[in-house]
Each structure stands twice: as structure tokens, then as C-alpha cells.
């Protein structure tokens, strides 16, 4: 076994996993606060990446202005989706809400094809190009810097939820909605905020992933990998999202490199199936107790 190759692949996988962790964090924020499983998260990422393409490529803004604009655009999209399409579904069965998010995903794919056509696109490169070496291991610069930017946001998020007023409101709503209401927390605003923050994380990750791998209307497929991450980690666990994100990213890359690209999805879904049978609520998720 070639340990150097394995090391390099693992490193790339772990860096990719960092981005998965960021997307999964966005997913978990939405789920924790609103109990909505967002199947459209891959499409929100895609939409933000196309916005970046429009700002940086079409309007020729500097990528460092286009990036925040695209991310803001993506989070506004999340907020609008919540206000117009998720809010009316409040209290409906989870099946219906999930189907609404699937429908939203389809609408977003259609919109993107409508505006930017179905052809694959390349994002203008904006990350430094010098190769990165960690010890003897080479890491593609796009992945390395993507990982750095992603982790920066991840840390900001963790600090925000831990210490800020808004973060506390969000956590309070997640742990007990009725109590949060009676304590004067504006639960509606928290719901909206959760969608905005969740989409923000997804949007940034979307631009970074698209910068390494290209962009097409099928980009939203990545949402399936994220789904695996959050189920393995536990739908309502931020820690789970981080650990499972890194692990699934690593596994996917290693399986792809050693067994071939067609094994990427089956490998991660195998882990998913095993976890579902052993710990249905995920590695770090809360076991919900149901009463009649």
C-alpha cells in the first residue's frame, strides 16, 4: 500500500469533509429550530454558486465582492422560501413538508436552467494557486483554501450560537418551543433566522464546492451526500454534523479513489444503512420518546 497516496487522498477527503460539515451545519440549524428536513439544500447551494457566477463572471465584479453577494443572495433565498412556502405548512405532516422542499428543489433547478442554461459552467478561479504541502503531502490549493474559508465560517457559527442573543434564542426554540414563546422569544423570527443562517452556510459551501468541481444544474445531487451526513451524525446534533461531515467526506473520497467513482455513493449509503439499523437517531442525535 502506498501510504503517501493514501495520505494525500485522505487529506483531500478530510478537506472536502470540512465543507460537508459546513453544509450539514446549515441543515441541522434548520432542522433543530423548525423540524423541517430540507431536501432543497443542495439546490440552494447550486443557486448561490450560480449567483456567484453571475456576479463574478457575468458582471465581472471582483470575486471577493461577488462571494459575499452570492452568499447574501443565497440566504435571502432561504428566508423567502421559509416565508412563502414553509410557513404555510406549519403543523402539517412531515411527509408533506419534505415534499414541499423537494418541489422547491425542482423549481430552483428549473429556474437555474432557465437563466443560465443546462450546460456545465466553470467558476472564475479566485483562490490562490500555489500548491499546498502539509508535511510531504500535496493538497490541491482550491480544496485547501475552500476548507480554510469554510472552517472560518464554521467557527464563527459555533461561537455565535454559543454566546450571542440570537443564538441563545435559536437554541431555546430548538429545545422547547412553547417555553421559548412564553419567555418572549419571537419564534417566527427564529424560524426565519434559522432558514437564513442555514442557507448562508449552504451558500458559502456551494460556491466553494463549485469552485473546485465545476457547476451544472445537477449540482444539487450533493444534497444526497449531505443527507447521509446528517442522518449518520444525528439530525439535531451540531457535533454530529461536524464529525459525520468529515468522516463521510473522507470515506467518499477514499472509496472514489480506490474502488472507482461508481462506488462513492454506495459506500456512504452503506454506512447510512448500518447506522440506521444500529442507531436510528444517528451517532449524536437525541433519541425521541414518543407517547400516545
Amino acid at each position: 500500500m502506498d501510504w503517501l497516496f493514501f495520505g494525500e487522498i485522505s487529506l483531500a477527503g478530510l478537506a472536502m469533509g470540512g465543507l460537508y460539515a459546513l453544509i450539514a451545519l446549515g441543515f441541522v440549524i434548520i432542522y433543530k429550530a423548525t423540524r423541517v428536513i430540507n431536501f432543497a439544500i443542495g439546490e440552494i447551494m447550486m443557486f448561490a454558486a450560480y449567483l456567484f457566477l453571475a456576479f463574478a463572471g457575468g458582471m465581472e465584479l471582483s470575486p471577493w465582492i461577488a462571494l459575499p453577494l452570492a452568499v447574501i443572495g443565497g440566504s435571502i433565498l432561504g428566508g423567502v422560501i421559509e416565508k412563502t412556502m414553509i410557513r404555510p405548512m406549519l403543523g402539517e405532516s412531515p411527509i408533506s413538508v419534505v415534499m414541499v422542499t423537494i418541489g422547491i428543489g425542482s423549481i430552483l433547478v428549473g429556474l437555474v436552467e432557465f437563466i443560465w442554461t443546462a450546460d456545465p459552467q466553470l467558476l472564475p478561479s479566485f483562490l490562490p494557486r500555489e500548491p499546498v504541502f502539509i508535511g510531504p503531502l500535496y493538497l490541491a490549493p482550491k480544496i485547501a483554501y475552500g476548507f480554510l474559508i469554510g472552517s472560518a465560517l464554521l467557527i464563527i457559527y459555533l461561537l455565535y450560537f454559543r454566546f450571542s442573543r440570537g443564538g441563545v434564542a435559536l437554541r431555546a426554540t430548538a429545545s422547547d418551543q412553547a417555553a421559548a414563546y412564553s419567555m418572549g422569544i419571537n419564534v417566527r423570527r427564529v424560524f426565519n433566522m434559522a432558514w437564513v443562517f442555514g442557507s448562508l452556510a449552504a451558500s458559502l459551501a456551494g460556491v466553494l464546492v463549485a469552485a473546485t468541481g465545476g457547476l451544472s444544474p445537477q449540482f444539487g445531487i450533493i444534497g444526497l451526500s449531505v443527507l447521509v451526513v446528517v442522518i449518520v451524525g444525528g439530525l439535531d446534533s451540531i457535533l454530529g454534523a461536524l464529525v459525520a461531515g468529515v468522516f463521510i467526506g473522507w470515506l467518499e473520497t477514499v472509496a472514489g479513489a480506490y474502488l472507482g467513482g461508481e462506488y462513492r455513493m454506495p459506500a456512504t449509503f452503506l454506512v447510512l444503512a448500518v447506522i440506521l439499523v444500529i442507531r436510528p437517531y444517528g451517532l449524536f442525535g437525541t433519541h425521541e420518546i414518543e407517547r400516545v
Binding site: 412556502m85 432557465f114 442522518i231 449509503f269
Partner: protein
């Protein structure tokens, strides 16, 4: 309920056909179905076959999702199992179609039971994701198990045959697909008059209460999975005979979502809804195609916008129906009927 229609016995309450008017209309409908292939051109005939296949598969998914409350993203995978079974059997054994179709259904049912096994421990959305995993694995098997499935190239098969009769054209296929669709919908209707069907509904409404009432959850959930995938398998088998080529890409995840959408648009937990939804969702893309063709002389690049429009309309239908008409087309249909029942009086 109809005025003056007080039911005085359990038989009357359980009866499928409650009035002679209903029987008359149904007979009329069956007559139209019978005359249809002789009266229309090949395009409409093709659509008729597609709708028939979709009705079978949607009814199957409706049993699972609409009546048992188990959401499944594996319907396309189960159809694939049926289609590959039919293709393999007809290439390697040359059995006539009734046998291959039944075997396709049974094969899919067996896979369905296997996929349903996690329902022992997980439910709700976790179960949906387990079925998603199943569809990923099935796709992988279709693509990689080359000796049996022919890999990415897939399998091509001979037309369906029975007693020396070959069902080559759409016209001939229509007479397999549509009677089968009618039969299977009727069978589904009957299931819900039995203990099994009522147990499904009880599980949907509240699984814990159902268990307390003495319903073995795992057993009935697996039964629902088996029944639903049997329908999917038969629909997949018909799909194989209809297109006579089966590839892994014939059954993408988007197809599972299509059938879920058909169940929702039609009306969850309503067999009539399943039929309406399947027909509606199959015909919308075709209507859009016709519209595009009509617009092309005026807007030459109309065809470019067709596929994105289709995505938007598809998603918009799902979201719109769930928000504004959660009981689907079936509810609209009932409203129309209620209106005409007392017409010209308002109420």
C-alpha cells in the same frame, strides 16, 4: 353523502358500488377504455399506455404512502427490479408474459420486504431515507452486476407473448396494460375492505395506537411494503415490455419523486386520487410539449425553455397542491360532483 342513502347493514357500508348510477357511469367509463384504442391515433395510444403503467405504480405507492403513511423514495428502484426480472426471464427462459409479470411483482415484493425491514426500528423520515439508500444500492446493482443486468448498456428484450400471440405494437400492449391497471386498482380497493387494509390505515393514523389495538406493526408494515412493491414490480415489468429496453438510467431517483408527486397531486390515501394524479402528471409534460410545438413558429427558441419550464411546473405543482389543495385532485373531483348532485340548487 347522498341524501336518503342511510346504510342499514355492514355489507351496505362496505360495498364498493353504492348506487346504480355509479355502476352505470363506471360501465360507461370501461366502454370508453375499450373503444379508445380503436378511435385514436398512435400518439394518444402511446399516452394511454403510459398512463396505464403510471396508474399501477402510483396505486402501489399510494398503498404505502397514502394508506400506511410510510413515505418511500424507492418506487423507481422497485420498478427497476420488476423490469429487470421481466427482461431477464424473457431473454433466458422465454416464458409468456402473465408468468413473467407475476414473477416480476413477487421479486419486487421480496426486495420490498427487505427494504422495509428497517421499519422495525426506524420510521417517518428516517425510513424514507432508508428507502433512498435502497434505491442507491439497487441502481448500483443494476449498473454493476453485468452478467445479469447487462451493466450500463442494459438489456433489450423480445415483445411480450402468450399462446403464440406477440404483443409488439402499442395497440396490442394497450390490451395488456389497461385491463391490468383496472384489475389492480380494483384489487387495491378490495384490500381496504379487509382487516389488512384497515390495519394499514390504522398504522397511518397513529402507529402506537394501532399497536395497542393489537396490530403487529412490523408484520403489517412489511405487508404494505410487499404489496406496494408488487404493484411497482408489475408496472416495471410492463415498462420493460413497453419500451423493450431496460437500462439503469430508466429508473432514476427523479422517477421515485415523480410517483410521490403523482400521489400527492392526486390525493394521498385515495385510490381515485392515485389514478387522477398518475394521469395528470403523465399528461402535463405532453401538454407542455404540444404548447412548445405550437409556440415554436413565433418564438424559435421555445424548445430550449421547455425542459426548465417542466422542472418549474413540476415543482410548482407539488408545492401548490400541498399548500392550497392538500387533498389533491380527488378533492376537486368530489367538489365538482357535490356541485352537480344538487344542481341547479345551491345547497
Amino acid at each position: 353523502m347522498r341524501i336518503g342513502d342511510a346504510k342499514q347493514s355492514y355489507e351496505a357500508d362496505e360495498a364498493i358500488w353504492t348506487s346504480s348510477t355509479q355502476k352505470l357511469w363506471l360501465g360507461f367509463f370501461l366502454l370508453i377504455l375499450m373503444v379508445f384504442p380503436f378511435a385514436v391515433d398512435s400518439y394518444l395510444l402511446y399516452l394511454g399506455c403510459l398512463v396505464g403503467i403510471a396508474v399501477i405504480s402510483t396505486t402501489g405507492l399510494n398503498i404505502l404512502t397514502g394508506f400506511t403513511g410510510l413515505i418511500s423514495l424507492g418506487q423507481a428502484g422497485f420498478m427497476g427490479v420488476g423490469a429487470y426480472t421481466v427482461a431477464w426471464l424473457s431473454i433466458n427462459t422465454g416464458l409468456p408474459f402473465p408468468i413473467t409479470l407475476v414473477l416480476a411483482g413477487l421479486m419486487a415484493a421480496a426486495v420490498g420486504i427487505l427494504v422495509g425491514l428497517p421499519s422495525l426500528r426506524v420510521k417517518g423520515l428516517y425510513l424514507a431515507i432508508a428507502t433512498l439508500a435502497a434505491s442507491v444500492f439497487l441502481h448500483f446493482i443494476f449498473a454493476e452486476w453485468e452478467p445479469v443486468t447487462g451493466g450500463m448498456g442494459g438489456l433489450s428484450l423480445e415483445p411480450a407473448h402468450l399462446f403464440g400471440l406477440t404483443f409488439q405494437s402499442d395497440f396490442m400492449m394497450y390490451f395488456i396494460i389497461v385491463p391490468l391497471a383496472v384489475l389492480m386498482v380494483l384489487a387495491a380497493r378490495n384490500v381496504f375492505r379487509t382487516r389488512i387494509g384497515r390495519a394499514f390505515i390504522a398504522i397511518r393514523d397513529r402507529d402506537i395506537s394501532a399497536e395497542i389495538l393489537g396490530i403487529n406493526l412490523l408484520r403489517y408494515k412489511l405487508m404494505s411494503f410487499a404489496l406496494s412493491s408488487f404493484y411497482a414490480g408489475v408496472a416495471g415489468g410492463l415498462f420493460a415490455y413497453f419500451y423493450r429496453v431496460v437500462t439503469p438510467e430508466s429508473f432514476p431517483l427523479s422517477m421515485s419523486i415523480f410517483y410521490l408527486a403523482a400521489v400527492i397531486v392526486g390525493g394521498m390515501g385515495n385510490l381515485l386520487g392515485g389514478i387522477l394524479g398518475a394521469a395528470f402528471m403523465t399528461l402535463v409534460p405532453e401538454a407542455l410539449k404540444l404548447l412548445t410545438a405550437a409556440l415554436t413558429p413565433f418564438y424559435p427558441n421555445a424548445p430550449v425553455f421547455m425542459s426548465p419550464m417542466l422542472e418549474i411546473i413540476f415543482g410548482g405543482l407539488i408545492v401548490g397542491f400541498l399548500i392550497f389543495e392538500p387533498h389533491g385532485l380527488a378533492e376537486i373531483w368530489h367538489r365538482i360532483r357535490r356541485f352537480f348532485r344538487l344542481w341547479p340548487f345551491r345547497n
